[in-house]
Symmetry: C2
């Protein structure tokens, strides 16, 4: 008796890929390239209490909710992580993430070390976290300066926040140094490829192996 | 102040890569290709009590030791794993592995599920284990039959041993299905690339990050 590997054998649980880095280390470039090149990876959609801006789509850019509903979501433990930024709340709703994971789809999260810590507590084995380091402070400062016409004070604030973010690099599963975007992207893609092959995510192989063993 | 990433920043602890599979699933082909294409990966050299054959080199093919010395190695806990096969002992000496790991070199192990279990107990976080599944029993049987002019009985014995080996696939960190050698090799290489980027192996980055933070 022969058992060929079928599509269902490749069924697996999705994973949550977290990319964190100090502002200016090239994370946005890496995220965009990753989403473009990886078929089975989508960006996580956050819930927020901030007003919708022109051109933004509810359910695509954000889930726009009223503060009272956001509070209810917190109390019902319906958020995987949340934070307050400049008087507005942002958070990750649990339900769409759980649906995606159980359907074998991977989700990308662009969050900081605090969000990652919260997510790690609730997501456990589903989480794969990568910290992106800049190759030098000079490179970081240059990127922050060329990015916009911000004041020296604003740049100094960003540098201070970047330093705090970097201090948490050892809490991540993987660390990559973004000296070259293509090289760094290849490293992130290898991590994603490898983590998709983790035995514990590949419940779909159980039936395949059982049929394989019947063939002996 | 600027801190460029230097060579020493890339210093990391090596890892132990275990490949296991039932006989005939293509493991030897994958191992050879991997050793050829990966600069920083060497095959583990086992100690054995079996007599040296013509052309074999001590310290390269095996460490050839007397039975009494092999027993001493067991008693002194100098072996990471060992097994008896057809009246001869085989085992993995701990010292050369520890030297290689601390120098940042990776080591490949071609061992079965029992050796892997022993290794896992002693190596802990240094171990990365991959199980290679055949795409079908038909493919496996074909490979075992074409390999040599063995009797039906010998082939049946090998198939039985293969079935037992396969039953342990879920104890491994990763699982790959060898439907196509190039595809399977690419998956194993991605796993190796990713595991080299694990934060816990990259102690060499600590100084780099400290210099980076001083630059803020």
């Amino acid at each position: 008796m022969s058992s060929e590997v079928g599509t269902e054998a490749l069924t697996r649980r999705g994973l949550m890929l977290v990319l964190s880095s100090p502002s200016g280390a090239g994370k946005t470039t890496i995220s965009r390239a990753l989403l473009k090149e990886e078929d089975n990876l989508v960006m996580s959609v956050s819930a927020t209490t901030r007003p919708r801006r022109p051109g933004e789509e509810d359910g695509k850019d954000y889930f726009f909710v009223e503060p009272v509903d956001f509070n209810l979501m917190i109390n019902r433990d319906e958020l995987l992580e949340h934070a307050k930024v400049f008087n507005h709340y942002y958070g990750t709703p649990r339900a769409p993430v759980e649906t995606a994971l159980s359907e074998g789809r991977d989700i990308l999260f662009d969050i900081d070390w605090q969000g990652t810590q919260q997510l790690a507590q609730k997501a456990g084995d589903d989480l794969v976290s990568i910290f992106i380091l800049p190759p030098s402070t000079a490179a970081l400062e240059k990127r922050l300066k060329t990015r916009a016409q911000d004041s020296a004070e604003v740049i100094a604030q960003r540098m201070s926040k970047a330093s705090e973010e970097i201090s948490h690099w050892r809490e991540y599963d993987y660390v990559v140094v973004n000296e070259d975007v293509d090289h760094c992207l290849a490293e992130v893609k290898a991590i994603l490829k490898a983590e998709r092959l983790r035995t514990r995510r590949r419940a779909g192989l159980i039936d395949f192996v059982n049929r394989l063993r019947e063939g002996y």
